[in-house]
């Protein structure tokens, strides 16, 4: 498609593996991040790379991308030792990476993003926009992507942006495409589309490295899989030969027999009742009740209005009409402080954007909600000793792994950040806990710990509203399930009658 864009290995290189990571070791002061790991990618295959957060996946990706140099071992691409210094080197040599955080320029068009630095020129050396759009369209046709090349990237959904990144990778004629948790923020239908494109690329001989936490996807898309644990290579196996439990066992070194330790607990009286909550254009006529000790799961596709309803109930973005009744009293929730006064807590969906104070330390992250309730101060002066004691107590209870609580939160793994945020809310002793994607992007071990905690809280009488895109989590954890579809409630399911098919029918009908 593109002439002169580097020598492509496909069809030229005859070796068994297109990308070989061979006994790579990388140490950081005090930490062995990678200990003699290997990873061998065949052309025309999808290779899943799995491991808990902190297993060394991202360090390896950074070595392949040339950000770090390995202390020992080497990375070979098409049989030759790889020498990559910058991301553009990587692209030019045929390795494309799609990071979790997408790297696109929102204020520029789709076409400009794809061809940046390689724009076609016209006779006088100016950028030929028409030609660029045609090239983009050709690329999209090839990949079955329906997007306007002249559209602004900022107007696209996460999934569409991902498509643009993939198209960009393809435009470099890459032999290896590395994708870091590509489905963590996109809907089921979009996942289907993504998988279709991945299969197309595989058929064209591209070697794909697919980093994921999700087991279901793995069995659907991967040919082979490699597992890392604590910086060590554990095994590479054929995806057809293993079960879900085998993989979990390899990843955590122990079998997590009960991923969703939901225990039945006493469900008390109604504490929250929502009636006909409406925010025009976003959601309409949302009504439900929530009782003490109950976990109400909220399922639905991304964009179905689930998070918006949670935001409205918590006062982040109040609804235009409808009623919220807490403990029998109609209340007007105009802002988060009001919601907190009524015993609510809200763990938001996006840990980085609306959750963590990344540059502040653990204590500062844990204490903030408690401080804003005004319960631990004397005329504005904070009783820091008491706050520290509480923070320590909850950090220990939630098994937050950090050298100490003065550590900057940016240095913690996603799972530990999430635990800190949960600790933040538990300190306020909520009666109603709203959790939006409580386990997104965190490793299996931390996930089951958080699930256990949620159940435990319900057992103590806390009413839990849990939004999740992971059906197994919804099915495993909820007493009842509310399914949303395009801004309205499409149905409720009891724990006993709910299964994957029923939920999906309601979510996508």
């Amino acid at each position: 498609m593109l002439d002169g864009q580097g020598a492509r290995a496909r069809g030229v290189y005859e070796g068994e593996y297109i990308l070989e990571v061979d006994r790579v070791r990388k140490e950081f002061p005090g930490v062995v991040a990678l200990d003699d790991v290997q990873l061998k990618i065949r052309p025309g295959s999808v290779h899943a790379l799995m491991g808990e957060n902190g297993a060394g996946k991202s360090t390896l990706m950074k070595i392949i991308a040339g950000v770090y140099n390995p202390d020992r071992g080497e990375v070979r691409f098409a049989g030759r030792k790889l020498d990559i210094r910058t991301p553009i080197d990587a692209l030019n040599s045929g390795i494309a990476m799609i990071h979790q955080e997408l790297n696109l320029m929102n204020t520029m068009t789709v076409a400009e993003n794809i061809w940046i630095g390689r724009e076609p020129k016209n006779g006088v050396g100016l950028i030929a926009h028409g030609e660029m759009r045609r090239m983009t369209q050709a690329l999209f046709d090839e990949l079955n992507i329906r997007l306007d090349p002249a559209g602004q990237v900022g107007d696209l959904t996460v999934a569409q942006k991902q498509m643009v990144e993939i198209a960009k990778a393809v435009s470099f004629n890459s032999d290896v495409l590395i994708m870091d948790e590509p489905t963590s923020a996109i809907t089921e239908t979009e996942v289907e589309h993504l998988f279709r494109i991945i299969r197309d690329l595989r058929a064209k001989g591209v070697g794909i490295v697919y980093i994921t936490h999700k087991m279901n996807e793995l069995f659907e898309i991967a040919d082979e899989l490699t597992v890392f644990r604590d910086g060590k290579y554990i095994a590479t196996v054929d995806a057809r030969d293993v079960t879900r439990d085998d993989i979990i066992k390899m990843m955590v070194g122990r079998q997590i027999t009960d991923m969703f330790p939901k225990i039945d607990c006493e469900i008390g009286e109604t504490i929250l009742e929502v009636r006909n909550l409406t925010l025009p254009g976003v959601f309409r006529d949302v009504s439900f009740t929530l009782r003490r000790g109950e976990i109400l799961g909220v399922a639905g596709l991304v964009g179905s209005g689930r998070s918006n309803v949670a935001e409205a109930i918590f006062g982040v973005r109040p609804a235009a009409s409808g009623q919220i009744v807490i403990e029998g009293q109609t209340v007007e929730i105009t802002s988060p402080p009001v919601a907190m006064r009524h015993g609510m807590a809200f763990l938001t969906e996006d840990r980085k954007e609306t959750g963590c104070f990344l540059n502040l330390d653990c204590i500062e992250n844990i204490q903030v909600a408690l401080l804003s309730t005004g319960k631990v101060d004397n005329r504005g002066f904070v009783n820091q000793r008491e706050v520290n004691r509480l923070a320590e107590e909850y950090a220990e209870k939630l098994r937050v792994k950090t050298p100490n609580l003065a550590e900057t939160v940016a240095n913690l793994s996603g799972g530990n950040q999430q635990k800190l945020l949960i600790a933040r809310w538990l300190l306020t002793r909520p009666k109603i806990l709203i959790l939006d994607e409580p386990t997104r992007g965190i490793d299996v071990g931390a996930k089951s710990e958080i699930h256990r905690l949620i159940t435990q809280l319900a057992g103590e009488g806390v009413a839990v509203l849990m939004i999740s895109s992971e059906l197994p989590e919804i099915l495993g954890m909820s007493d009842r399930i509310m399914v949303m579809h395009e801004g309205h409630v499409s149905g409720f399911l009891d724990r006993a009658e709910a299964d994957q098919v029923r939920v999906m029918e309601l979510a996508a009908k």
């Binding site: 991040a33 957060n53 609306t354 005004g374 320590e392």
Partner: protein, 338 residues
């Protein structure tokens, strides 16, 4: 990191405090002072630091801007900026002085309002500052315009107001009690009181903790129950009121007020904060750091005078030091966040 996750598994996390970030800046200050000390012995044959009179003047020179810097630091920690402080100094100097004139002077601005108790011009000045700060804060919090623009507007407006107030005429002859506010080491005393109050506020009160939280992540702060808008208004009121206080001190010290007072003070105040480790990205900084930044400023100014170097060099070096401080700080941050 993998090893980190496992190593600390059993250790119960404790609230250890790390070394204060201000230590680095303090070392820089000591380093710069020592360089001048050595150069002093080489070129002037005398001590730089051993001269108490010189040290007093040194602190005096910077403490007025230091008062402003205490407020600006808080605004910067919250992720904002305040460009209006210098103009507020000028405007408040004029207004406050016009109510502080002595009856002995025949051509007072308000001939009927002379020889008022000192509290009157001071309160009027502080209220003017608070109003300007309220406008800044309200615009930033509720119309969501960038702090840079809102305070730039105030900077231009307040300066215009200062000139309009007496059609450009200076105002002089304050009462003795008013002049006392700027006499001797009073500016330093006022700075120390202000710095102490806000050091405590930033470290030990909700006001301070909320300021850091808003600067680190305003959205997360909002969801955590902080009334971000109201807090921002408070912050800008504090910053402008402190600028007003500086204006009163400047006028009292000079025993005259001119519309051009305080030009560029806002930038020096921002520079002090930044040298002192306050991050323009928000969420980081401290009053102690800013105070050290202020002293670094003072050392450089009096150091150059002491070495009898041209004032031109002073400014150029000052510029270099501001940039160098931020470069070093950025580098340090990168190391901290792996």
């Amino acid at each position: 990191m993998a090893a980190q996750d496992t190593n600390f598994e059993r250790a119960a996390p404790k609230a250890h405090r790390r070394l204060p970030a201000e230590l680095n800046i303090l070392l820089v200050l000591v380093g710069i002072a020592l360089v001048f000390e050595i150069l002093g012995w080489i070129f002037q044959g005398q001590t730089f630091l051993g001269n108490v009179g010189r040290l007093k003047i040194m602190i005096l020179q910077v403490s007025v801007i230091g008062i402003i810097a205490v407020g600006v630091t808080q605004v910067i920690i919250s992720g904002g900026i305040d460009l209006s402080s210098g103009s507020i100094v000028g405007a408040v100097a004029m207004v406050s002085m016009s109510f502080a004139q002595s009856a002995e002077y025949a051509r007072a601005v308000y001939p009927a309002l002379t020889d008022l108790p000192v509290i009157v011009p001071v309160l009027i000045g502080l209220v003017c500052g608070a109003i300007a700060g309220f406008i800044n804060g309200w615009l930033i919090a509720y119309t969501k315009i960038p702090p840079f623009i809102a305070t730039l507007g105030m900077m231009v407006t307040a300066r215009g107001f200062a000139k309009w107030y007496t059609k450009g005429q200076p105002i002089s002859f304050p009462t003795e009690s008013y002049a006392f506010l700027g006499s001797g080491m009073m500016p330093v005393v006022i700075f120390l009181i202000v710095a102490a109050i806000f050091h405590v506020a930033m470290k030990y009160t909700r006001y301070g903790k909320f300021t850091y939280a808003i600067g680190a992540n305003p959205q997360a702060a909002r969801v955590s129950g902080i009334d971000v808008e109201r807090h921002l208004v408070k912050l800008y009121i504090v910053a402008a009121t402190l600028a007003a206080l500086a204006g009163i001190v400047v006028a009292a010290r000079g025993q005259t007020a001119q519309a051009g007072m305080g030009i560029m003070y806002e930038l020096d105040a921002i520079a002090m904060a930044v040298i002192g480790g306050t991050s323009l990205a928000g969420g980081r900084g401290s009053i102690i750091g800013t105070s050290i930044g202020m002293v670094i400023f003072g050392v450089i100014i009096s150091g150059f005078t002491f070495l009898r170097l041209d004032a031109y060099y002073q400014e150029m070096i000052k510029g270099v030091i501001i940039v160098a401080a931020v470069v070093i700080d950025t580098y340090r941050q990168k190391k901290k966040v792996k």
